[in-house]
Symmetry: C2
Subunit: 377 residues, 2 copies
């Protein structure tokens, strides 16, 4: 879940790779290559990262070094310079390095059990489907696809090819987030009345950032940060929304020429629970608040990689604090899926979980385009 | 600002007055009556409370006992039993006790400088105008009126009669709330990007409560709690909104047959700042969050009578906490107005402040009725 990406820092990262470090020749560090074989023997599943941007480099690869049930076995990149850098840094075998032309040959590679798609949104469907056809299990980053129809084809492709599909919803593996899910399930404070969720950051000024490009991103803040707030409302209520009303607001017509800057939306749930959310590329918010019949719960920050913390209220008084947990979300997420694969049990963040969010996003964009309340299809 | 009123507790309060305590005969407690004369001599202004419900009895009257620049000089009530109880409890002279028929004779009473209208919303305009015609300065509870047109007539009546008008916005006298106003004015963390404000409680099941009666209340949660969140957005941005979009949601068609249960709304401000708010009679929320360019601020609880506290964030880190202040909001509010009257300077929560909120409320109800974005008139 590559968020928040500061496009300028991503550019710095790429620049650094293609200059200083990129000058290194491809000399796999032998002990690490051996460590890979050893990992395989230990029963760890091999993961290949597709797309070596900021999130893959700064979050997923380091997390895989801490993983117990999977390891970084391969990479897929269109940038030649990254091959050597990653190979050396993570001891990746030359045979496990692919580009976007020869990617489909990954089907012949027994080292690779899982393909993790970390590409811009417009490529999620294509690479998920190609990975499925190659017989590989798939983790696809959020948002799962450009829309619900695409998400459905991805689920179908994985089913048809007998592989498992998981979406990069790391927060389902965060203990404090799971506390909120548990409160929705067990209802110790009565019915869930309301969820207020917000996820926003101030987007940098690189107008060439793929997240500002409709063809690549499919939308703006909603496709990036909004997904978190949809997720939050869904797991804090523990139900699927039946209708959505959405509003768009824009102040910078140049930066946000193609994609949404700020969207607010409300969701109606079958039990009568309601949510109100804001997502934006032009403010700083990262919060969840749940109102129960006889209490409340909150997380702030709610969706960051680290530091998630909050409170549970009985009535108006803090009953307990949800302290920061010293975990690595991405490591837990990938290990969790690796264990699902080994056990043959579906991912707790399956393709259907991603599809549910895409249905909401479709309804949000329909509401913005046509106005008013839109039922989910 | 009678909030949250639990209609059942209000009924209990009324029942208690009209049974046990109400049986006491009218015997003003002499030393207290003398204290009143003494107050007048000390230059304190005499306040008459119009409407002796929960808020007048539990908040305003006790607050007046702590006041330095005003005192409880008179009462106006339609309930005979309350006269004796209040007269004894607060040492009110018989001559300073009015009912709704003889109210206008208050013009002849030099003990009364200020009339504080604490009646159901539908009566705010009438009693404010009658008080103005009687030559008395007025404090009117929020919401100021049933709509902006009524609010305007109230302002006009006060101007025409040369009296000052103040609205019961006690939070403008709360130090932590003032901190947020100061941040909006001084902008130490850059531009104000966003305000999220929420004020809600779960309404009791007394279907005869005046707050559920459209003719008396003019609306539901919006007219009661929503005003706080409009206020919050306005003072946290420090600008007047230019447009509003609103959505209504209802789950209990019996309890909320006549008035709104839950309303969400978004406001656009001239600088580009945006707000998203929720008010409801069917959830528990009481919060303000402000996102600045380089920081944030929050209050929770944000609008309760006591316990208001929060944080100021520089970037993502808490820079300072806004600790609970040991003050009485209502005492500060009434003393503040009394000093304004003495000095001849307008109230910091003048009729125009109330009118600004009524304009927003009008636009919210227009948006709900007709859909979409509505500019303020």
């Amino acid at each position: 879940m590559p968020t928040p990406i500061d496009p300028s820092s991503r550019r710095d990262f790429v620049t650094r790779l293609s200059t200083g470090l990129g000058a290194l020749s491809f000399t796999p560090f032998l002990p690490r290559a051996l460590a890979q074989s050893s990992a395989k023997k230990q029963g760890k599943l091999g993961i290949a990262l597709v797309g070596l941007g900021n999130y893959a480099g700064k979050q997923l690869a380091p997390a895989l070094e801490q993983a117990s049930d999977c390891y970084l076995a391969g990479i897929v990149t269109g940038t030649k310079e990254k091959e050597g850098v990653w190979a050396e840094k993570y001891g990746i075998k030359k045979a496990n390095i692919y580009n976007y032309r020869n990617f489909d040959r990954i089907s012949e590679n027994d080292d690779i059990d899982i393909v993790y798609v970390v590409l811009p949104n417009s490529m999620h469907a294509e690479y998920t489907i190609r990975a499925a056809k190659a017989g590989k299990h798939v983790i696809c980053e959020k948002p799962m696809a450009m829309n619900a129809a695409e998400a459905r084809t991805m689920i179908d492709a994985c089913e048809r090819n007998g592989v498992m599909l998981s979406i990069g919803y790391r927060l389902h593996f965060d203990p404090n987030t799971r506390e909120l899910m548990k409160l929705a399930e067990e209802k110790p404070y009565g019915a869930i009345k309301y969820v207020q969720s917000e996820a926003s950051f101030i987007m940098g000024n690189n107008l060439k950032a793929w997240r500002l490009n409709r063809a690549l991103a499919g939308g703006g803040a909603m496709m990036d940060m909004g997904v978190y707030s949809i997720q939050a409302a869904r797991y804090c209520v523990g139900e699927e929304p039946i209708a959505v009303t959405a509003q768009e607001y824009k102040t910078d017509l140049r930066k946000f020429k193609e994609v949404d800057e700020t969207i607010t939306w409300q969701m109606e749930f079958p039990s009568g629970a309601y949510s109100n959310s804001t997502t934006s590329y032009n403010m700083r918010t990262n919060r969840i608040y749940v109102s129960y019949e006889r209490g409340a719960a909150s997380l702030e920050p709610a969706t960051k990689y680290t530091g998630i913390k909050g409170f549970v209220f009985k009535g108006q008084n803090v009953e307990r604090t949800l302290e920061v947990q010293p975990i690595n979300q991405q490591q837990r997420q990938m290990d969790g899926f690796a264990r699902s694969v080994k056990a043959g049990t579906p991912s707790i963040v399956s393709g259907e979980e991603g599809l549910a969010d895409m249905k909401v996003i479709d309804a949000i964009y329909r509401s913005i385009a046509n106005g008013g309340r839109r039922e989910l299809i």
